[in-house]
Symmetry: C2
Subunit: 132 residues, 2 copies
């Protein structure tokens, strides 16, 4: 399905900026990207878009289910083009996120606190350079 159709499908007007950002984000697979990085890619691709719009767009896309936010770094938000349920390796040195594609099973979890329900379960495996 075209990017324009996907945007219409989630109720977002296919503006020049949203179409361009959606192309950068969604037409390659498995991306984990920050707002600054995406803004940089847009500029590199000669797409004129403000940083405010990049932030707006990332949040709207997330809201609409086209992206997922991954929280691994205090003070930096990553957005993930893989919206299926999955987990991550996070390299604290390079700041790189890597999908864990395999089926991971968690057992032994207690029930959530009463009055609350589980919204999401995130596993982050923090890795660093091998040292011995």
């Amino acid at each position: 399905m075209s990017v324009v159709a996907r945007l219409r499908g989630v109720g977002l007007r296919p503006t020049r900026q949203r179409v361009a950002l959606a192309r950068l984000l969604l037409e390659k697979g498995g991306r984990h990207i920050t707002a600054e990085q995406l803004h940089g890619e847009a500029r590199a691709a000669a797409v004129r878009v403000s940083l405010a719009t990049v932030y707006n767009t990332l949040h709207q896309f997330t809201e609409a289910g086209l992206l997922r936010e991954v929280i691994v770094d205090p003070g930096r938000s990553y957005f993930d083009t893989n919206t299926s349920e999955h987990h991550h390796f996070f390299d604290e040195g390079t700041g790189e996120l890597l999908d864990i594609g395999a089926d991971v099973v968690v057992s032994g979890l207690p029930l959530p606190p009463s009055g609350t329900q589980v919204h999401r379960l995130d596993i982050v495996v923090r890795v660093g350079p091998e040292r011995r």
Copy 2:
């Protein structure tokens, strides 16, 4: 062991500020606290300490293994007085962290990317108000 002895044990001078913060943090169990919150508690307890020192101290305590940093919120760092291996419920509404005390078992994890080794594995179960 006294707070002063614990500080000496990890090579930190027991200054007035560090002793007071350590008392607030370590003499009650199971705390998950931000720098601002701890600064507020210190002020409430008539401990004169600057916010910069609270940040310095939290990082030094973490470095020294007296605390653990928990990353669940972009733009806010939580520090955990429970330094044993454990996981968390995080209430996105209230910003509250709750320890998962039970033994949780994760199976099916692939090996870390080559050249890296696992430093830590964090599970965050994000919960919200029950809605139906």
